[in-house]
Symmetry: D2
Subunit: 328 residues, 4 copies
Amino acid sequence: MIKVGIVGATGYTGRELLRLLRQHPEVESLAILSARTGDKSETLPPPLGDTVHPFELDRLSGCAAVFLCTPHHMASQLVPQLLDRGITAIDLSADFRLKSATVYRQAYGVDHASPELLARAVYGLTEFAREELPGARLVANPGCYPTSILLALKPLLNTRALDRSFPIVCDSKSGVSGAGKQPTETTHFGNVHENFKAYGVGSHRHLPEIRQESGVSDLVFTPHLLPVFRGILSTLYVRPAAGHSAASLRTILAERYAREPFVQVCPEGQFPETGHVLLTNRCALGVGACGDLVILVSAIDNLVKGASGQAVQNLNAVFGFPEVAGLR
Amino acid sequence: MIKVGIVGATGYTGRELLRLLRQHPEVESLAILSARTGDKSETLPPPLGDTVHPFELDRLSGCAAVFLCTPHHMASQLVPQLLDRGITAIDLSADFRLKSATVYRQAYGVDHASPELLARAVYGLTEFAREELPGARLVANPGCYPTSILLALKPLLNTRALDRSFPIVCDSKSGVSGAGKQPTETTHFGNVHENFKAYGVGSHRHLPEIRQESGVSDLVFTPHLLPVFRGILSTLYVRPAAGHSAASLRTILAERYAREPFVQVCPEGQFPETGHVLLTNRCALGVGACGDLVILVSAIDNLVKGASGQAVQNLNAVFGFPEVAGLR
Amino acid sequence: MIKVGIVGATGYTGRELLRLLRQHPEVESLAILSARTGDKSETLPPPLGDTVHPFELDRLSGCAAVFLCTPHHMASQLVPQLLDRGITAIDLSADFRLKSATVYRQAYGVDHASPELLARAVYGLTEFAREELPGARLVANPGCYPTSILLALKPLLNTRALDRSFPIVCDSKSGVSGAGKQPTETTHFGNVHENFKAYGVGSHRHLPEIRQESGVSDLVFTPHLLPVFRGILSTLYVRPAAGHSAASLRTILAERYAREPFVQVCPEGQFPETGHVLLTNRCALGVGACGDLVILVSAIDNLVKGASGQAVQNLNAVFGFPEVAGLR
Amino acid sequence: MIKVGIVGATGYTGRELLRLLRQHPEVESLAILSARTGDKSETLPPPLGDTVHPFELDRLSGCAAVFLCTPHHMASQLVPQLLDRGITAIDLSADFRLKSATVYRQAYGVDHASPELLARAVYGLTEFAREELPGARLVANPGCYPTSILLALKPLLNTRALDRSFPIVCDSKSGVSGAGKQPTETTHFGNVHENFKAYGVGSHRHLPEIRQESGVSDLVFTPHLLPVFRGILSTLYVRPAAGHSAASLRTILAERYAREPFVQVCPEGQFPETGHVLLTNRCALGVGACGDLVILVSAIDNLVKGASGQAVQNLNAVFGFPEVAGLR
C-alpha cells in the first residue's frame, strides 16, 4: 500500500486518475493538488467532489509516486524536485517523451527545463516497456494519438512484416476531451457539435513522438476532431512486406497480444468502435485490406489507455503490482 | 418554367430535393411521389408538410424531368418507362453510375435491370460533365463519397500532378443521414452518439465508382460513421509527381475552380470543416503536406452537393438554366 | 429598397441576421459592424465570409434601420445617437424590453443609460404589435424565452380563458446558442454534451419580461440548457377558466393564428418538436391535458423567431414590407 | 455468495445489470438469458462480450434471485414459475408496480397475467421500502421517471410540507436509452439529434404509477425526450404548505437523506445536472423558488438508479447485503 500524488487534478486526465486510483487496491492515500500554487482550494464537480489543494511540494511528502497532469514545460521543472526526494514521477505531459531536446524545442517552442533527464525517462507504452518499468524513477506516459498508433504498428514493425518503402499513413480522430477543459473556440459546443474537421495537418506535436517510437521517419499523421467527448480511432494504411497479407498481419497482432489484458484483436471482418472501449483501459485492433494495402483500425479511450489508465498501468509495472490493479 | 417529379420523396434525399426545388425559379410545379405503389398518401413532417402520393406513372405526365430517389435496382426498372415518355431521368440511386453491368452485379448483388442504358448515362459530377449534360436524357447523380473525393482528385489527375506509383488513400467520414431514414441498428441513437467507427472496410459500394471515375485502379477507400446528421469530410493522401508540391497542387485546384460557384479552395494553412458547408451545395478543399505526401481535405454536405443539390445543379445544366438556380 | 446596418455582426444573432438579410428583397445594402470600436476588421467564418468592420457611427449613414446585436447596456447608449440621425433602431438586446428602469436595474445590475426612451420603445412581439410597429423608431425585440411563452399565452389571457388563481408554470429548454458564442464553462462541449440542467432557477432575467408582457405577476419560469445548438421548447402548465378545456384553448389559439404566416397550432394529439422549426421563423404550438391542467407546448428556433427572424419581421412591419419578406 | 439470473440480458437494463453484478462481491455466478426461447445464443457487444443464452427455466435453477428485464406482460407470466421454485423475482418491467389490475389494463392495454400476485409485490423504491424488502419474494422495481419524482416528493408529502390544493407539476426529461434498444422512428439518430420534444402528454404509463406511490391523484406529468443517451432530470413545481418555504423544504429533504448513500441534496443555489450522476446509483436533488412556488430538481441515471442500479440495491436489501454492495 502506497501513497501517491496527483499534480494537476482539476483537468480531465487528473480527474480520470482520481476515478481510477480511488478504487486501486494498492493505493491507500492520495495527495490531490492543483498545478498552481496559491491560497485557494477547489472542489471538483460531482460525482468526484474531492478537494484539490494548491500546489505545495510538502504536500507530496510520503508519496511513493506522483502523477504529473500539468501543462508541458511545467513537468520538466517539477520532476527534478520529485526525484531529489526519492519520488517516482509518472509524467502525463509531453515533457519526457521525446529523446531529443532539439526536437522538443521544435515541437513545443520552448527550451526543455531538464534535458539531462531525457535519457533517464522510460517511454511508458506499457506493453513494450516491461523490462524498463520495474523500479523506474521517471516514466514518460505516451501521448493519446501515439498510443493508439503504436500499439497497432510496433508488432508489425518488430517482425518486419511491413514494406517500409510505403510511408505509413495514420488518419486519427479524437474526441474533444483531448483538447482539455479550458474553454476555447475549439471546445465551444457550437464549433464541435454537428461539425468535423482536420487540424494540425502535418504539424501536430505528436508526429515526432510517433516517428521516434515507431522508428518510421516518413510516417504521415493527420488528427481530426470528433463531436464526442471521449475516444480515439486511428485508421492506418500500411503495405505488407512480400509474403504478408492482412491475414498474416492480424495473426502477428493476435499472437503478440494474446496474453495482454488490455489489447484485443478483432476477428476477421470485425473492426473496433470507440464506443466499445469507452471508460476502459482497452485498445481494440481490427485488420482489413483494400487493394494491396492493409488497413489497421485502432480504438482507445483517450483519457484511459491514452492517458490516465496507462499511467496507472505504468504505476503497477513500476511497483510490481498486478498490471490490472485498479483498471478492471 | 418546367414541371418536375420526385420519386421517393419521403427519404432524406427526396425531402432535400423538395426543400431546394420549392425555391427554384424555373420549376413551376412538382409531382411528389413515393417509391412505392399503393393507395395511401403520406404527409411529410414539418417544416415541409407536403403530401406524398403513392407511385403511379401517370402522375408524372407533363414532367420535363424526374428525380429518382429510390433504392438501387428500382431506378433501373423505372428509367426506361420515363425515357419512353420523353422525360429526362436524374437518378440519385447507384443504378447508372457504373459503366459495367458486371461490376454493378459484384457491388450490388443483383443483375442490372437495364444494362443497355448504361452507356447512355451521363455521370453527373457537374463540374466535369458540362459538355455532356445539356440535353441529356439520363443522368447518373454521383455518390456522396465519390463526389467529395473526385472533386479533390480529378484536376490533379488530369494535369498529371500526382505520382501514380502511390496508391492514393481516401479516408472518408460521413454523417448518419447517408445511412438513410430507415430505423436500423446502424442508425439507432445509442449506437451513433458518443461513438465512431469504420465500416465497409475494403468493400464499400462506392469504391468501384471512385476507381472508375478517377481511373485509379489501386485507390484505397475507407468510410467511417460520424455522430452528426449531415456532412462528409474526406482526407486524401497523395504523392505529388516530380516537380510538384502541396503549393503547386493547391494552385492547380485553385485555378481549376476559380470560376466555379460551388467549389472553393482554402488558402494555405486553412482546411475545410463540415460545418462550413452544411445546407449548401459547396465543396471546400484544403491542401497540406506531411513528409513527402500531400494531404487533401474535402468537405461537402452529403445531402446537398453529395446528392440533391448536385442533382438540381445537373437539372440546371441539362435544361440550360443558370447553374446556381435554386441553389443559393 | 433600403440600406440597413447590423451592429454586433460577429455574434450568433448578428450572423443569423446576415443570413436572412442577404436574401431580403427590400434590402439593397448592408453595413456590417462589430460592436466594438478599434482598427481591425474581421472575416466571418464560412459559409458567410463577410467582412465585419469595427464600429463607427459614420458607417451607418444612409441606413434606414439598424439592428443592435450588442450586449445589454451598450444598445441603450447607442440608440439615442441612431435616433438623432433619423435611423430606426431594432434592438435585439434586452435594453428596451422592460418598461421600468427600476426593474431593469434589478435584472441587469446596471442603471439604464436612456431611461427616457423606455416609454417610446415598441415591444416587438410582432403578432401583437402590428398597430404600433408601422413607422416605429425604436423596437425592442423580445427575448427568446418570452417569445416562445407569450405566443402560447397571450391569446388565452386576452380571451380570459385561463383560471388566474393558478400561477402558470413555464418550464423552458433552450439550445446552447442562447448562451452566445463566447467560450465559457457553460458552452464548453464537455459540459453540454450528454448533459442537461436547469439554470437561473427563479432568477432568470427573462422572468420580469415575461411577467410584464403577460401581465401575470405570479408566473413561474425555469430555463434549462439542452445539448443542441438551436431551438427552444417551452412546456406551459395552465388551469383553464370555468367552461374551458384543452379543446377550447386549442380552438382559441387556432383561430387567433389562422392567418398568421409564422404561428401554427398542431391538431389534437400532436405536439411540436424543436426539429420541426429549425432555421425557420415559425412558432409551433400544441395543446394537451393532464388532470385538470392544460399543457401548452411551444417550439421556436431561438435564433430565428426568438431573435433575428422576428427582428426582420419587425423591420418588415415598420417599413410596410410584406411581413414574410426575407423569411421564407 | 449467491447465484442470480438475468432474463432479458440483451436490452439496455439487462446489460447494465451485467455491468453491475459482475463486480458485486456477493454474487458468485450469473445465469444470463434472453427473454426469448429459441436455439441461438447471442454475444453481447464489447466491452461486455458475455454470451446470452435463449430462455429456459432450467438454466435458472440454483438462482436465489432473478432479475426480469423483459417487456411488460411477460414478467407477470414468468414470476409464478420463479416463485414456485423458491426464487426471488426482481421485476424491472412494469408488471407489478401498479396495485390495481384495472389500472394496469388501462395503462398497458392487456389483462394482467397474475393479478393475484399484485398485493404481494413490494414496490422497491429502496429508500422507502426498507421494512418490506428483507426476505421479499417479489419486488417491483420502480419506473425511471417515478424514481426521479418520488425521491423528491415523498419526504415532503410525508411531513405534510406541501399545500395539496396545488396539483404538483412534474416536467421530466429523459435520455434515449429509456426508449430501449429496438430501432424505431423514435430512436433514429436523425429524429433525436439536434431535436427535443414532449411525448405521451397526459397519457404516459408512468403517470398512474407516480400518482399511486405519491398518493397525489391530481399530479401532472409530462415526459420529454433529450438528445442524450442516459439521464433523467425532473423539474417539479410544488406549493409549500403554510409556514414552509424553499429553505424548509430543502431542510426536510437534507435531513431525510442525511444517512442515505445514494441520495444527495444540493446546497442552496446549486442544482443537479444529469452529467453529475451518470453511471452512478445516485439521485441528486436541488431546491429553489420562483414566486410562491418551490421548484425541485431531481437528477438520476435512468439506467442505474432508474432501473438496474436500484434493482441491485433492492437485491442487497432483500438478502441483507450491505446496500452499497456492487454499487460503488
